[in-house]
Assembly symmetry: D2
Homo-oligomer: 409 residues x 4
């Protein structure tokens, strides 16, 4: 449904041509300093019309906070917000309405609901993501304030063009002789460890590798000029997440992360850590050996796991990739059929994004923040509850964590 989360719970509403889109955020910790600008900055990154690579429909997309705050501080009560659809003239009927757009949601919405919005796929509109981005920005503000958590996403692929360090340098022919280093280069790992949003935003494509960004830009322009579209991959890293997040066995951290990411429109694939490529690497090379950190805590020498082991965060960086398909709405003629089965050619009218990944970056960051804050609140509950019990004295020391009674996450 349109609600995400258990204790930090987001409910969104709105489609293309209605009065407004927005969200209610329930369960935001009280006492957080929050301004509309904390939210607007991410909405602006999501907004169409930021460059000549995205749809020119220029909406201002200003957020209007309705409740849950007073004098700039959250009260713990639901925060409602909305963004007006300034462009909400009634849908003007045309012959293209007779066709379900191929690979779009027109057909499936009609199958599901028996009725659909005149403009097509209803909630599958990209404007649905405004509520997510706004909610994610609030979650992120808390995570940054309370834990110093950093969430940074960027475009790592457009079509067949990749950040060079993000793809395997070679594929050894020997069936057994693989190495995870081939899949995830040291250069790329360094990028993950240090990348900032400022670096990501240096170009409109949101790829931090300048030369690749330029090639991606050209690729998107070629798609646009051909009345076509192209897909891509967004990579995201979350740093400074406490250990212990994730709930066995059905709500493992990566399971909830995958759920959140594949709820973003146009996504088709997700991998965490070494991902698909890592399945080729023997355990002896893939295992993340433990080391003792300077603060006395354990860390891992490598991080092929992507910060999650047994479904629970281990304190290392969490990184993952999401595949976005080529947008379905293209203006070249497609040989398809009408709702009633009559064959014909459909060419979408209007202007559409030839590639969604640059604008997907803040959406990925938002969903990542929503996953972390919800799991964090749940783990707070568990850890605090355990900390209120007397020390365990009847178990062998190997079964009990030294300092198990420490304060909550």
């Amino acid at each position: 449904m349109s609600t995400y989360g258990h204790l930090f719970r987001v409910t969104t509403f709105g489609e293309s041509h209605c009065a407004s889109v927005g969200a209610i955020i329930d369960g935001c910790p009280p006492g957080l300093t929050l301004s509309p600008e904390d939210i607007q900055i991410q909405l602006d990154r999501r907004r169409p019309g930021q460059s000549n690579l995205t749809t020119p429909r220029n909406e201002k997309d200003r957020v209007h906070l309705q409740s849950g705050l007073e004098l700039g501080v959250t009260l713990g009560t639901p925060i409602a917000l909305l963004v007006k659809n300034e462009d909400q003239r009634p849908h003007d009927y045309s012959e293209t309405d007779l066709y379900p757009r191929p690979s779009h949601a027109d057909y499936t919405y009609l199958e599901k609901y028996g009725v659909k919005a005149s403009s097509g796929g209803g909630r599958s509109s990209a404007r649905e993501t405004i509520g997510r981005v706004a909610a994610g920005a609030i979650a992120e503000k808390y995570l940054k304030t309370a834990f110093g958590i950093e969430v940074v996403a960027f475009v790592s692929s457009v079509g067949k063009i990749n950040i060079p360090s993000s793809v395997p340098s070679s594929s050894p022919s020997n069936e057994d002789d693989d190495d995870v280093e081939d899949a995830l280069s040291e250069e790329f790992r360094n990028l993950l460890a240090t990348i900032t949003r400022e670096q990501v935003d240096r170009n409109p494509i949101r790829c931090p590798h300048a030369e690749t960004a330029e090639r991606m830009t050209q690729r998107i322009i070629r798609a646009k000029d051909a009345s076509d579209s192209i897909g891509g991959i967004v990579t995201c890293v979350i740093r400074n997440v406490p250990s212990g997040l994730g709930e066995p066995c059905f709500d493992k951290f990566e399971a909830t992360l995958a759920h959140a990411m594949l709820s973003i429109p146009a996504t088709k694939a997700f991998e965490i850590g070494s991902g698909f490529r890592g399945t080729q690497v023997p355990g002896s090379k893939h295992n993340d050996l433990f080391v003792r950190r300077e603060d006395g805590r354990l860390g891992t020498k490598t991080n092929w796991s992507g910060g999650v082991q047994g479904g629970i965060t281990n304190g290392e960086d969490i990184y993952f990739r999401i595949g976005f398909k080529s947008p379905a709405t293209i203006s070249q003629a497609q040989d398809t059929v009408q709702y009633d089965g009559t064959p014909g050619f459909l060419a979408a009218r209007g202007r559409h994004d030839p590639c969604v990944v640059p604008r997907a970056v803040p959406i990925v960051e938002a969903m990542a923040s929503l996953v972390v804050i919800d799991q964090l609140l749940i783990q707070n509950a568990r850890k605090t509850a355990a900390s209120l019990l007397p020390p365990i004295t009847t178990l062998p020391p190997t079964m009990v964590m030294p300092g198990a009674k420490s304060s909550a996450a």
Copy 2:
């Protein structure tokens, strides 16, 4: 937590060395004929010791139904079932207990709970999956009986060895000139359309391509002989799923599917339809054009979407891939540290699966069935509710489905 699903809800329990493992299945449709054998058949496929490729620990893993049935018919009330841990001798302490196993859940469970099972990762034990498989078998029985739905998973990769038709034949050098056919060959698509469990089970590796199965077998034996492990990929197809399943916007069908799959131990990656590779293909080639089927309904000419559009099933086959990492527990010595930071070498004792994908096949099928039945029940609710309203007469015909008032899903 340990509960999956909204209307068909599964709660599992149990770890390696406790009295039993099992599940409660709540919300099973009443009036379904169900025998222990319907469940046992999938438990047997999950069971270790089926071949020399899996751990020799031979448990009988007989299911014991506790409730929810009478005279072999489901009552609609919770079905409890359990499987005894026959091998539940107390964990005998050893020096290896001083070490958190690298890339295993020992460390993260201790971080989360402050206490852990003597045998290690608790619920991250493979025995946790028994409850899922049993629950999935019940769901599947309903889906097959009521809808003729078929769920078939198989091993498509082990390490670097793939079913030839499952991987791109070539990678054109031209940056723009990609074709989705390269990513998903006609031969492989035919395999997806027709494959049966009988074909899958012809060899213990559960790969339906005999020659590849033999190479996979040798690869696993090499891992075993080297006290090492290797990962792999499971592909799954679900056929005859009705259109309209999946809930915008956070519970899109593929989002709940990814959630379910990445809740299986050792998974790191998920893709549906054309997946990551499809992101390289322009929209004009990737879009699934509509055609009129003989029964008058719409279908799609191709199915790169994998049966889901806009997060809602369209009636075509649903297919997806899941990446399983190399098992973390290996018996060769690893240069790591103890819980207290003391450096040392850990070599796991006992026998362990060198590769999990053959046994993962029924687990993937189970989780797929749980996703489908839960979404199906939810869509039943919606479709039936809509069907009880008078016909819509005030909307333009393009907004209303012909036959919208048809019977429920």
Copy 3:
């Protein structure tokens, strides 16, 4: 939290002095004809300032629909709506702010959140109920359209003044000789079977017994003149609810109903059917014997159960009572302490409702509708699922319902 329901899900927001209050309704059946007036009519009944018995603050409380409809028909997507707080001037500080109001939420909100709205209890404001009433009106429109369900609430008591037929006529002295007829007179049962909203609204007190209404009015005026307040009881009946609603064992129909009713501000008590008084009546007199109805279905001769048996509706009228305490905010001086413990006298400023029950009537109706529609959708799912199975032939006839495979609820 601020979300109610599973498949028909309402999330509300807003407090006294923020920009707006409202709700998102997710899961409304598609294809329902719905106008703002369908909602406004109940908001107007809830609105303060309808008579000299309620607070004079006259807000227009116009509903603004944001999404989920097109051309007056629901799309199945979330319906957002809001009502502006026209009176939202900043709270002007006064000495009374130093005091937590006795029996109000000021103190507990501060205990829970560590911060509170300047105006006091935040979400405990009566304006919070606007979102519920609006959502309930939408649910009710569906229930009436699809099932002819009728929900009517009214005031049966104010202070010690009761509709005569609603209270036991006498209390026999013999310990064993009680009769349920004493608790629930035939006259009152006839009232429940026939009462309409038009009858209820004939006077501002919303008590359908004219003479009693006049006495209640005088009682409230006396409370108002004394700077005091008084409580009361609302009785509600739901007619034409299908059998089979309610989920064993934790979500019995009456359990979810009690939950919903006691979530309304100022409620302290709930009883269904014969309630507390019924506990005194022996089973032989209290049991509802079955009879055969003209349509061949079973009904019950009496209905002391209030339409629910074993937690599941049986098709008879559902009726229940809710006790509302005297409003906590009164303008006479109270001998209490400040937040820091300093003793003093608090006299609330401004005008406040001396009695909430007349305005509670539409709120009770709204919550009743939300309970019924959510349980109805869930039962739709179950019943439709069962109807798709082949007939049960292996059970004795006494275990199977004749016509079990009938269409959904």
Copy 4:
């Protein structure tokens, strides 16, 4: 459904004639010392056959723990437990099976599911409550260990026989002149403040007032001798609950409490604090004025609210009453109809409880514990999250709690 709770989550299974009944408890805090005896003690109090007032079916009802513990300490993983149905011979068919028992669940289960257990109402069996009582005992062990929380329930009424101090001494004739003291005497309030389980268990009726207990006993014997049944009221008090529990606005503490209580079989009524009677008392007499406690915290002079204000606990004792109807199964002949509408007389075979309230006492305590622990874990999450933010410096002091950044609940 058969699951209760969000973070401390109980799922139960089982009916009368299946192999076993039991529960899975998910989310129990790790590190809690727990023995089977902690659970058995409450199961024994629930067990039939404790005296000649309850059904003679003597089951041993021994709990068997399956998982979630090691060496007597909880691991944080699901605790499964079961109790065998020793008396599970197949239901032997009789003519009484042709009749739905009046006011029982036979008819409604068949309406809901289209199929029913041969023994009748399936999950409406009293044996369903075993899982609840076991789960509640675990919750209670945590609450007592970590917070010193005490939960004590007792029988306050059987039929028309009440503990004298529990009912209004008189009912003044003047319409305005009521006093809450009449509704809740000082003697009864003292009882609530001090009562222990030992006092409750001094007689089998579980009424702590000896003389009344004797009269209740005679009343039940009379019902039994007349092949009839009688209802009653259970009163419960929860002491030492922290302030801040309960979630606005739909999950107010009393709303979740009412939900839990009315999910117990045979319940029809619930009231908290002064309840229905309190609605007659003017606000000036009903408000709980604040006082400064010796520890510097605020308390209330009276506690007519029953420990909850604005839906959130205030730290005072929580007390409430639950009405249980007369058991529906009686052995005297009832003039009713068969499933097919044929008129006839039904006289239930076998022995049945003539009154359920003595055995309901531990069930009420169990549900109370489940409500408190779940709300406590949720509030832990919120309070800990808030405590990790920097102090609020921008709000007026009246909006911020002194010491808001204190440690978690």
